[in-house]
Amino acid sequence: MNAAEIAGRIRDHFPDVYVARDEVIVLVDRGELIDALIRLRDQPDLSFGFLSSVTATDHPGKDPRFWIVYELRSVEHAHRLRVKVGLPGDDPHVPSVTSLFPTADWHERETWDLFGVVFDDHPDLDRILLPDDWEGHPLRKDEELGGVGTQYHGAFIPPVDERTMP
């Protein structure tokens, strides 16, 4: 099914669905996430049983601050869908989906590591890419990129995130 058809099929249960650039995006609350994923997996004409990726985006100053993004794919019908859950900045908790999709294990660990989003009931929520004793969650927008300035023959170039141009 193409994006518009999928959106039409699920609009009854998922009022917050929209189609953009040929993709279906569904917004759900974190309390309904697990039920939503079960429904999307079990409905035969959808059968979104393959989780490609779990990630997050950070929008400081906005509410919700974090959007957790789940990319789903159907093996039977070869179509895709995106589920997004919005989280407030002061309470970035969301239920873990590892009970439904074991592949979410490392994806959720990476999202915890880089964004500080806590996945409740995750079997082993530890840092994965950064060292175990790292402090901070670097992919948040309020954390710096890091880097040192370079100086050569009187010209000084500051680190990337401090440059004024462009």
Partner: protein, 428 residues
């Protein structure tokens, strides 16, 4: 051979305490890697062993993390190509392709047909090169040292082709949003045709060495079984999934860049062990040669390789000079001496680049290791808001405990070799 292996597995490692005389089982926790000649890169495995049997295995990654995703948020869209290409460093064209397709979808443009053919040509050559590295290093890890030399010898030919076309052997930054950065050099088609002539015989050589080799068979047949159900639950894609009988290949299921117009097969096996993954990758090399041949025929017709839209296309014209690829003389004369507007345009496009409308897109391609996806978010700026690389090796490595636990340590090496992880993609 299976019976002997099972017998070994059934015997617990017993230790008699020297002081009390009691007999107890003892397991040993050892660490394999991150610096290890056989773990396929900087992969660390925490193994709990009962004699030679692996009871528990925990892969620990992150030793190659360089912050690619964060860095793209501070660079222009075209600079992002140079970052993204270095994630999975053995398949740079695929990283670039997924990123550029995502950016093109956000921009609402399509690369010209000739650029798409060039992309397919180079990606399939990249697939062959990546599988050559796999067969070379995988064989070396299991002791077949000669294969290492043969695999890398052929890969050198492919890297020479890449160098002639893009100027670099690896991490080319050749595919950019809107097309590719420059057309083939004059002797490009001849080099590729010569490679197509000699490669099939080489692949025959590899099969002659490994296919019926008793040691190769002993170490790979029946090793590292991962059923289709487990594979799909763990998010595994690529040759591992196809070795379990699931015929998913994104080149066929979600085609892009004209893949639907090429004639090629997708090899699928059902045994789901390390040997079937070897057979699939060898067969994929042959299929990629077919695609390269078809792409080369289509390149007989000339055409543009970058979109014409001045707000998007990379303004610089490059050409091959005596010392490699550089700015075209005629173009430099044009912007420096003839046209102020061209100079200003060049300046703005190179320093600021294209402004991509707001939105988000997930673009997946079939890299040699599986589904390589890019989730690109734009906030209507000259630089990305978020680039998430869904790397196949990162997800495939989650399957290591399932495949390794219960087997012998030596099988762990064969299993990880058959997964073909590239730590650049795992850690980014």
């Amino acid at each position: 051979m299976d019976a002997a292996r099972d017998e070994l597995r059934g015997v617990p490692h017993q230790v008699r305490d020297r002081v009390t005389g009691e007999v107890r089982r003892e397991t040993m926790i050892i660490n394999m890697g991150p610096q290890h000649p056989s773990t396929h890169g900087v992969l660390r495995l925490l193994l709990e062993l009962d004699g030679e049997t692996v009871i528990r295995c925990k892969p620990i990654v992150g030793y190659l993390h360089t912050g690619i995703e964060k860095n793209t948020e501070y660079r222009t869209w075209v600079q992002g190509v140079a970052y993204v290409t270095r994630a999975d460093y053995l398949s740079p064209f695929f990283n670039e392709l997924a990123y550029c397709l995502a950016v093109e979808r956000l921009l609402g443009i399509e690369a010209p047909p000739r650029a798409q053919v060039l992309r397919v040509l180079l990606c399939e050559l990249n697939r062959i090169a990546s599988h050559l590295v796999w067969v070379a290093t995988g064989s070396l890890e299991l002791g077949a040292v000669s294969m290492m030399l043969y695999g890398f010898r052929e890969r050198e030919v492919i890297l020479d082709i890449f160098e002639a076309i893009t100027g670099l052997r690896m991490n080319h930054s050749y595919i950019r949003p809107g097309g590719v950065i420059m057309d083939l050099p004059p002797d490009g088609p001849r080099m590729i045709a010569k490679f197509l002539d000699t490669m099939p015989a080489r692949i025959d050589d590899y099969e002659r060495i490994l296919n019926d080799n008793p040691i190769w068979l002993e170490r790979n047949v029946g090793v590292g079984k991962l059923s289709a159900e487990d594979a799909l639950a763990l998010g595994v894609t690529g040759p591992i999934l196809r070795s379990a009988g699931v015929p998913i290949d994104l080149r066929k299921d979600e085609p892009h860049s004209g893949y639907e117009t090429y004639d090629f097969e997708v090899p699928v096996r059902t045994e789901a062990d390390a040997y079937s993954r070897y057979v699939i990758r060898i067969a994929e090399m042959r299929e990629s040669l077919r695609i390269v041949e078809q792409a080369l025929e289509r390149l007989a017709e000339p055409g543009p390789v970058m979109v014409e839209d001045p707000k998007v296309g990379w303004p610089v014209k490059l050409s091959v000079g005596p010392d490699g690829i550089g700015n075209d003389e005629a173009y430099l004369r044009h912007i420096m001496e003839e046209s102020m507007e061209a100079l200003i345009h060049h300046f703005k496009m190179v320093t600021q680049g294209v402004r991509v409308p707001e939105g988000e897109v997930y673009q997946a391609v079939e890299s040699p290791r599986g589904e390589l996806g890019m989730y690109v978010v734009s906030a209507n700026e000259h630089r990305p808001y978020r680039v998430k690389i869904r790397d196949p090796s990162f997800v495939n490595l989650q399957a290591v405990p399932t495949m390794v636990e219960g087997g012998l340590i030596a099988d762990a090496i064969a299993v990880i070799a058959s997964l073909d992880p590239v730590m650049g993609g795992v850690d980014r």
